[in-house]
């Protein structure tokens, strides 16, 4: 579904190798997590494989089509949700989704059904005919996701998809990811949410300083699942026993501090706003 071989990217006027000889392959029907710290090379890799950035060496194939040699066919099989959810804000939600549907040649009947279904799913029915400029952060993210799915892509690429979404929408997107993969499609997404990756992904890759350091199964491998956080901390060079133990304990225990006890008359102390 997606085959990346020896991908290398160096930004112009920079000595640093942003992506250094990365190779991996995604199988049909899997959800693949792409992990790494900020600046590790996740977004650069995603931008290369979506055709946004040219790269220096290596090859990228989407559904058998080379992104450099056959970009139109490769892009036709892909849907992309950017991390900054930028969309043409002067258009209405419906105009934007229809615009994207036209680019992917989605027939009228099919798009009608999908727009209706997605609008209901993401609770955007009332906002579809309003200009996107008036949308909230989460609504923009949802319209991006709708547009990326309007042609039912075989490969769905998401860069930090859950940021700024309400729990209901996050749950809907997770459900949709699973549904999408159940049809034999593939989901590739980057995230900082280790807990979500652990629960959702079949496989995961961890990048650090532009290099793919580890790639392993999570589905059916309880040991990898249990050790995902530790692996991530060790690979990204942020492992420190005390901090890791704190993190692990925070994951399993309640972290809210105890409320101060209010003995005596509440009206005298607790309920009064501070004068300062």
């Amino acid at each position: 579904m997606l085959k990346v071989e020896h991908l290398t990217k160096i930004y112009p006027k920079s000595d640093r190798v942003a992506v250094n000889d990365i190779s991996f392959e995604l199988r049909p029907g899997e959800i693949f997590g792409f992990l790494g710290q900020n600046g590790a090379g996740k977004s650069t890799t995603i931008k290369c494989l979506t055709g946004i950035l040219p790269f220096d060496s290596g090859t990228i194939e989407i559904c058998g089509y080379d992104i450099v040699k056959d970009p139109i066919k490769a892009k036709m099989n892909m849907g992309y949700v950017p991390d900054n959810h930028s969309v043409y804000e002067k258009l209405t939600g419906r105009e934007y989704v229809n615009f994207v549907a036209d680019l992917y040649n989605v027939p009228t009947e099919l798009r009608r059904e999908r727009i209706k279904r997605f609008a209901e799913l993401f609770k955007l029915e009332a906002a579809m005919d309003r200009q996107i400029a008036g949308y909230s952060h989460g609504m923009k993210q949802k319209i991006c996701i709708m547009a990326a799915l309007i042609h039912e892509p075989k490969l769905w690429v998401l860069d930090e998809p859950m940021m700024g979404l309400d729990p209901q929408s996050t749950a809907e997107i997770i459900a949709h990811m699973r549904e999408h993969c159940a049809k034999g499609n593939t989901v590739f997404f980057s995230s900082h949410n280790l807990d979500l990756v652990k629960k959702l992904c079949h496989r995961v890759a961890i990048v650090n300083n532009g290099q793919l350091v580890d790639l392993f199964d999570l589905a059916g491998n309880e040991a990898n699942k249990a050790n995902l956080e530790e692996k991530f901390f060790r690979i990204t060079g942020t492992y420190e026993r005390r901090l890791f133990e704190d993190y692990a304990s925070q994951e399993s225990e309640d972290m809210r501090p105890d409320l101060p006890s209010h003995e005596g008359d509440a009206s005298e102390s607790g309920d009064k706003p501070s004068e300062e």
Partner: protein, 569 residues
């Protein structure tokens, strides 16, 4: 009564405002400083030209027409209206529309403190505007009338008094102005039509006034300074209160129209009027401000609603529609492109008529074809330069152009078609309007049908050439410097480059046609041109335009994929 305004907080807010406008944490390079100096020089040059114009106007009023007090009244009238309009705009922008209102309200500061801090900025801004606007004109008047030194101090005093009134009027007008803006905010077509009418109106009024002044300079018996007109001016300006009070306060005594008692009375009138307007401004602003900004914040996200059907469109059509909506639904873009393209035929016609009057009077009617082609190419350049931000305007959505399964050639071709079609229609209408007038008796048959057909043909070729060149320039050097609403922060250097290129062709083509219509051009035994016979010259210019067309189309489309791919986002 205990005041809830803290001077310290007001000072802090005011300083914050100044820092956000003028402060910088970056060390500016030499390039930046040079560009700042060039901007300052350009501003000074324009300012000097305006002052020179004012000097001649003062001479006409004072020396030729003996209308000293009337001139001062006219100064007060014109400058105070301009200052009030600028003040209203500044107040609307800073007090009611500035995006920091929402942020400031989160701080532990009151609405009154925000209002006061911003009002201080607006007030100081207004004083500077009034000085820049009025002081040179008063000084010019003083120089022309040999005013004593004391009068110059009076000018400063009168400017300060004028700035108080204009600030108060600005505050009063700002509230209904904001309400009007909110009503028309999402009515894009209405705003576009109004913009076209205003642009044409202001431009035509300016050129007509300039034309009358030129007529007067040629012949004082005609034009806006004829004896009949002067009587009318006097009648109007003598009743132009309260502006006449300011004029009398400045020079009433010296000009012998006012005694000491009269002077005191005029001062009292102005003082009372200023006080009344200031009190009204205070009450209106203090009552409306908080409500208006809260409404602005609440309705800031109110946007256009439009129902469309979910229907498939061909790729090129959908790209064209998207591009058109992005331009139409932005006030800045629709003004820069659609309004300019629609207004061009009228602007060219009047500009051409004025240039033709001046040129014909000084060197003869043979100058007409040259002037016409020059003026048309100048306006083409202004309209087409919009295409030099075709990639930059994508801003944060540029990634879409890389991700969509549509070749870069088709995407660029679509933009090219949109810009070319609009500019081509604009040029066609421009040539029709100009041609109908100048090839008939109405325009003294100053142009032949051949002239007009050739000018139209060359202009259309240049439209396509300059459009493709503009787009090629932006593909080479895009700048994705966009504001919060996704629009370009300001015109980038590509626009400047294209203006220079376009103006070069305008001057070069215009000069060639002008010169060859006066001086016969002979190569060997062949006479290439003579007066009224420019066929060969037009052919040469057409050939040059075609070469430019081939070059610019190559610059845009050859190896487009490779160049487009290189654009970093």
């Amino acid at each position: 009564m205990k005041s809830d305004i803290s001077i310290t907080r007001v000072k802090t807010l005011f300083k914050l405002d100044l820092k956000s406008r003028f402060g910088t944490t970056h060390k500016r390079g030499v390039k930046y400083r040079i560009s700042q100096c060039m901007n300052a020089l350009f501003f000074l040059a324009i300012y000097a030209v305006l002052i020179l114009g004012m000097y001649y106007l003062a001479k006409i009023f004072v020396e030729r027409s003996q209308m000293r007090l009337e001139f001062l009244t006219l100064i007060s009238f014109a400058t105070m209206i301009i200052a009030a309009v600028i003040s209203t705009g500044t107040i609307v922008k800073n007090l009611y529309q500035n995006g920091d209102n929402e942020m400031l309200l989160r701080f532990p500061v009151s609405g009154k403190e925000i209002l006061l801090a911003k009002s201080i900025y607006c007030f100081l801004h207004n004083i500077i505007v009034c000085f820049l606007l009025m002081f040179p004109i008063y000084v010019t008047f003083g120089a022309v009338t040999n005013a004593p030194a004391g009068d110059y101090f009076a000018y400063i005093g009168i400017i300060l008094l004028s700035s108080l009134v204009t600030f108060a009027v600005g505050n009063i007008l700002a509230v209904p102005a904001v309400k009007l803006i909110n009503i028309f905010k999402n009515k894009f077509v209405v705003v576009l039509i109004l913009t076209i009418i205003i642009v044409c109106g202001v431009f035509v009024a300016y050129l007509l006034a300039l034309s009358h002044i030129l007529t007067y300079l040629r012949d004082s018996r005609q034009g806006i300074f004829s004896a009949d007109m002067i009587i009318r001016y006097k009648a109007f300006l003598n009743g132009a209160y309260p502006f006449k009070w300011y004029a009398e306060l400045v020079s009433g005594r010296r000009l012998g129209t006012l005694n000491a008692g009269g002077l005191a009375l005029r001062f009292l009138y102005i003082f009372l009027m200023t006080a009344a307007l200031s009190v009204a401004a205070y009450f209106i602003t203090s009552r409306a401000y908080y409500k208006t900004i809260l409404y602005g914040i609440a309705s800031g996200k109110s946007t256009v609603s439009r129902k469309v059907k979910d229907k498939q469109m061909p790729v090129v059509q959908t790209l064209l529609t998207k591009e058109f909506y992005l331009i139409l639904r932005s006030f800045n873009y629709s003004f820069e492109y659609l309004a300019m393209a629609c207004a061009a035929p009228i602007m060219v016609f009047f500009c051409n008529r004025l240039a033709a009057t001046m040129g014909t009077d000084s060197v003869g009617a043979a100058i007409m074809p040259g002037i016409t082609i020059m003026v048309i190419i100048i306006f083409i350049t202004v309209t087409v330069s919009f295409a030099s931000t075709c990639i930059s305007r994508e801003g944060n959505c540029f990634y879409m152009t890389k991700v969509m399964p549509v070749s870069f050639k088709v995407q660029i071709l679509t933009k090219f078609i949109l810009y070319s079609v609009v500019a081509t229609i604009s040029v066609l209408l421009t040539c029709l309007v100009t041609g109908i007038f100048y090839t008939t008796d109405a325009g003294d048959k100053a142009l032949s049908a051949v002239d007009m057909a050739a000018i139209w043909g060359i202009s259309e070729i240049l439209v396509i050439s300059l459009t493709s060149l503009s787009m090629a320039v932006d593909i080479k050097w895009p700048t994705f410097n966009v504001s919060g609403d996704g629009e370009l922060v300001s015109a980038n250097k590509n626009v400047a480059i294209m203006l220079v290129v376009g103006f070069f062709f305008a001057i070069a083509f215009g000069a060639v046609v002008m010169v060859t219509n006066f001086i016969p051009l002979q190569v060997g035994d062949t006479l290439l041109s003579s007066q009224g016979n420019l066929g060969n010259i037009y052919l040469i210019l057409t050939a040059v335009s075609l070469i430019l067309l081939a070059g610019s189309l190559s610059a845009l489309f050859v190896k487009l994929d490779k160049r487009y791919n290189k654009i970093m986002w």
